[in-house]
C-alpha cells in the first residue's frame, strides 16, 4: 500500500467515512465547482471614487507612494519624475506587457531593459492585473508580460494600475482571473500590500527586508 493510500485510509477510518459515499462526493464537487463567496466586508463595496480613496489611504499607510495621472500617455513622464525625485538612474527593468510597451516612452530618456530581473536592477516596472481597495492590495500575475522577479528583486518597484482594474474585494479578482485564465491558474499570483518590511527585531518595523524598499503606484484614470 502506498503512503498516499495509507494516509487517506487513516483519514477515512478516523472520520468513519467511505470514499465512494455519493453524498460526500457531491458536496465536495459542488463546493469546488461553485466556489461561492462568503462574507465580503462592506468597506470595499463602495462607489468607484470611494474605492480609490480607500485604496490610496490603505496603501499609503504601509509606506507605499501613489500618484494619479489622467491617462496612460502621462505614465512615462510620471515614471521619469519619480526616478529623478529619488535620485535614481533613468533606467527600468520591465516585461513584455502590451500596455507598458505601447506607452510614449520616447518623450523621456528612460532606458528600458526587458525580461526578468537578475538581481542587479535598481528599478522594476510592472502593470498590475488589478488591485483590491479593501486592503490597499495590488495584484500581479506571472508571465512574460510582468515577470515575477520584477516584484521582488529591484529595490524600487513601480506599478501601473488602471482605475478600472481596482476591485472592491478579492472575490472580484478571482472572478476576473477565472474569466481570463479559465480553470488553470497562472504560475504565480502576487497580492502585494506595500513595500517589504520586517518586525523581527524587537517588533520594530523596518522597510526593505528582502523585497523592494520602495513601492510607487501610478494610478491611471
Amino acid at each position: 500500500m502506498s503512503t498516499r493510500d495509507a494516509i487517506l485510509g487513516k483519514i477515512r477510518r478516523s472520520l468513519g467515512v467511505h470514499a465512494e459515499d455519493s453524498a460526500r462526493n457531491a458536496a465536495v464537487d459542488g463546493r469546488l465547482l461553485q466556489h461561492a463567496p462568503g462574507v465580503i466586508p462592506a468597506r470595499g463595496q463602495v462607489s468607484p471614487d470611494a474605492k480609490l480613496v480607500l485604496f490610496t489611504r490603505l496603501v499609503e499607510k504601509t509606506g507605499a507612494t501613489t500618484i494619479r495621472v489622467p491617462s496612460t500617455t502621462a505614465v512615462p513622464d510620471a515614471v521619469a519624475e519619480y526616478l529623478r525625485g529619488r535620485n535614481l538612474p533613468a533606467k527600468v527593468r520591465m516585461g513584455d506587457d502590451a500596455l507598458l510597451e505601447a506607452l510614449p516612452w520616447q518623450h523621456t530618456q528612460i532606458e528600458r531593459e526587458k525580461g526578468p530581473s537578475d538581481g542587479h536592477d535598481p528599478v522594476g516596472l510592472s502593470h498590475a492585473f488589478g488591485a483590491v481597495a479593501e486592503s490597499g492590495t495590488l495584484v500581479l500575475v506571472s508571465g512574460n508580460a510582468n515577470p515575477t522577479t520584477l516584484n521582488f528583486l529591484p529595490e524600487t518597484h513601480i506599478v501601473v494600475l488602471l482605475r478600472d482594474d481596482l476591485a472592491g474585494d478579492y472575490e472580484m479578482i478571482w472572478k476576473k482571473l477565472r474569466a481570463e485564465y479559465g480553470r488553470a491558474m497562472p504560475r504565480t499570483v502576487n497580492m502585494i500590500t506595500g513595500p517589504s518590511r520586517s518586525a523581527d527585531i524587537e517588533q520594530t518595523i523596518v522597510r526593505g527586508a528582502h523585497g523592494p524598499r520602495n513601492l510607487h503606484i501610478i494610478i491611471v484614470d
Binding site: R43, R183, I201
Partner: protein, 474 residues
C-alpha cells in the same frame, strides 16, 4: 529538535530570571495585542468571518480525504509533483531525495514550522546540504543555533543588542567598525548577506499557509518577500505542508486570509500573499522548473474523529500565545519544542506524546483569552482539559497530587461529613490566623506561601452560620 518539555518548570524558572528575555517579551505585551485589537475594531465583519472560518475548516476536515485527492489531481494537472509523507522521517527523506536529484548544494528556506517539526535543517546538514534560513527572524536564530520561540516571530525572545552581537560574530567579512545601532541597519546587513544566497540557491523550500483544492495552489504569507525569492529563483521549489492546510476554493481561502494577518500582526493583509500553482509555464521567463509538494501527516489523521479534531482548524496566527498570560511571562523556549503557547499546549502532546508534554496543557489558568482571540474559534482550554483527562486515565500525574484530589472529591461527595470536617479545620485555622488575619507561612501550603500571604479564614463556615440563623429563627 531537542525536546525539553519534560523540564518545563525549570525552563520557566530560567525564563523568568532572564532579564534580556523579559525585556524582549515586553514588546509582545504591547505590540501584538494592541495592533490586533485596532485591526479588529476597524472591521465590523470580523466576528462573522470567524464563524465562516470555523465552518469552512470544519467542512473541509469532515471531507479531508476527498479534498486532498482533488488538490493532488489539480497539482498534477498543472505540472507539479505531489509526495505523501506519513512520518517526519518520510518527509525528510523525500526532501533530501529531491535535492539530490538535482545535485543541490545550496538550499534557501522560507519560514516553515513544518520543517522545524520534522527536524529538516539538521538532517540536510548531516547529508551535506546547508540550508539557509531567509526569514530575518529565522536567520537570526539559525546563526545562534536556537529554535524559534514564537510561530510567526521566531526571534521575539531577543533584544536588538543580542542580534547585533550575533551579526558581528558571524559576518566577519564586513568592517568591524560599521554602525549596527538600530534595527534598520541590522536588517540592511541581513538583506545584503542573504541576497547572494537567494541568487545562488539550487532549491527553495517553503511552507504553505494554505493549499487550495480547487486550483492546486499553495499560498504563502510573508512581510519580507523572502518566501517569494526562495520559491521563484531556484530551479526547484519544494512546498512542505501538513494535511490540514487544505481549503476548498480561492473564495474560502479569501475568507480565512481576512482573519490571518489581522489576528497575527494587526495588518489588513501581510505585505506578500502569494498564490503559486505548478512550475514555470511556457510563457514564464522566471520561476522554478520543478514544483514539489510534500504532504505530511505526522499524527494529524489520528486527531480526526476525536475530541482534538478542532485543533486542526489552526491557521498558525499566534494570537493565542500573544494574549496568553503564561506565554507572556516565560516566552516560547520554555515549552520545550516547536509549538509554544496555547496552541502548542494542545498540539504538542499529540505529536510527541502526553507523557513528555504533560506540563504544557497543565500550565494554564484556563483564563480563556486564547479562545476569545482565536480567529478560528478553537476551544483551546477545553482541549487542554481533555489532555488532563488522558493524563488522569493513564495515571501520569504525581501520586501526591492525585491522592490530594481524591481526598477532596471524597469529602465533596459527602456534604455532612465535609461540613463536619471543614467546620473543625476552619475553626483551627481561624484561631491560628486571628491575630494577624493572614499567614506568612503555612505547612502543606508552601506552594502558596512561598510568594503570597494566605488570608486567614473567618473561623466559622457559612454553612454553620446559616444553620445557626435558621435554628434561631425557628
Amino acid at each position: 529538535m531537542e525536546i525539553t518539555s519534560p523540564t518545563f518548570k525549570a525552563n520557566a524558572r530560567a525564563a523568568l530570571a532572564d532579564p534580556q528575555l523579559q525585556q524582549a517579551l515586553g514588546h509582545i505585551r504591547t505590540g501584538f495585542i494592541e495592533k490586533r485589537a485596532a485591526a479588529v475594531a476597524e472591521l465590523p465583519e470580523f466576528e462573522r468571518l470567524r464563524e465562516q472560518g470555523r465552518a469552512i475548516k470544519n467542512h473541509t476536515l469532515e471531507n479531508l480525504d476527498l479534498y486532498l485527492e482533488a488538490y493532488e489531481e489539480k497539482v498534477l494537472e498543472e505540472g507539479g509533483v505531489v509526495h505523501w509523507a506519513e512520518t517526519a522521517d518520510d518527509a525528510r527523506a523525500i526532501v533530501l531525495d529531491i535535492c539530490r536529484s538535482v545535485g543541490a548544494l545550496s538550499v534557501t528556506k522560507g519560514k516553515t514550522m513544518i520543517s522545524e517539526e520534522i527536524g529538516l535543517n539538521e538532517y540536510l546538514a548531516e547529508n551535506g546540504i546547508a540550508p539557509v534560513e531567509t526569514d530575518l527572524g529565522e536567520y537570526i536564530i539559525q546563526i545562534r543555533d536556537e529554535a524559534p520561540s514564537h510561530i510567526i516571530a521566531p526571534a521575539v525572545h531577543l533584544t536588538r543588542e543580542q542580534v547585533e552581537a550575533d551579526f558581528r560574530r558571524l559576518h566577519t567579512h564586513l568592517p568591524p567598525e560599521r554602525d549596527l545601532s538600530d534595527a534598520g541597519k541590522l536588517l540592511g546587513e541581513a538583506r545584503q548577506v542573504l541576497r547572494q544566497r537567494f541568487l545562488e540557491a539550487d532549491v527553495g523550500i517553503t511552507g504553505a499557509n494554505f493549499l487550495v483544492a480547487e486550483t492546486g495552489t499553495s499560498i504563502i504569507v510573508t512581510n519580507e518577500g523572502n518566501g517569494d525569492l526562495t520559491q521563484t529563483l531556484p530551479k526547484v521549489h519544494i512546498v512542505l505542508a501538513s494535511i490540514e492546510k487544505i481549503v476548498p476554493t480561492l473564495e474560502d481561502a479569501s475568507q480565512i486570509l481576512r482573519l490571518l494577518a489581522r489576528s497575527a500582526t494587526g495588518q489588513d493583509m501581510s505585505v506578500y500573499t502569494t498564490f503559486s500553482t505548478g512550475p514555470r509555464r511556457r510563457d514564464d521567463p522566471d520561476g522554478p522548473g520543478e514544483y514539489h509538494v510534500v504532504i505530511l501527516d505526522n499524527g494529524r489523521s489520528g486527531m480526526l474523529g476525536t475530541e482534538f479534531q478542532d485543533m486542526l482548524r489552526c491557521i498558525r496566527c499566534a494570537a493565542c500565545m500573544n494574549h496568553c498570560p503564561v506565554y507572556q511571562e516565560i516566552g516560547g523556549h520554555a515549552y520545550g519544542w516547536v509549538y509554544p503557547g496555547p496552541m502548542g499546549a494542545v498540539l504538542t502532546p499529540q505529536l510527541i506524546g502526553i507523557d513528555k508534554a504533560a506540563n504544557l496543557p497543565n500550565a494554564s489558568t484556563f483564563c480563556g483569552r486564547c479562545e476569545a482571540v482565536c480567529p478560528m474559534k478553537i476551544p483551546l482550554p477545553n482541549m487542554m482539559r481533555h489532555w488532563r483527562e488522558r493524563e488522569f486515565e493513564r495515571h501520569l500525574q504525581p501520586t501526591t497530587y492525585r491522592t490530594g484530589l481524591g481526598l477532596w472529591a471524597f469529602f465533596a461527595r459527602r456534604p455532612r461529613l465535609y461540613q463536619f470536617v471543614t467546620g473543625i479545620a476552619m475553626r483551627i485555622l481561624g484561631n491560628m490566623g486571628a491575630r494577624k488575619g493572614r499567614f506568612r507561612r503555612l505547612p502543606f501550603a508552601s506552594g502558596w506561601t512561598k510568594y503570597r500571604d494566605m488570608p486567614a479564614p473567618a473561623g466559622a463556615t457559612f454553612q454553620e452560620m446559616w444553620a445557626a440563623r435558621k435554628r434561631n429563627a425557628a
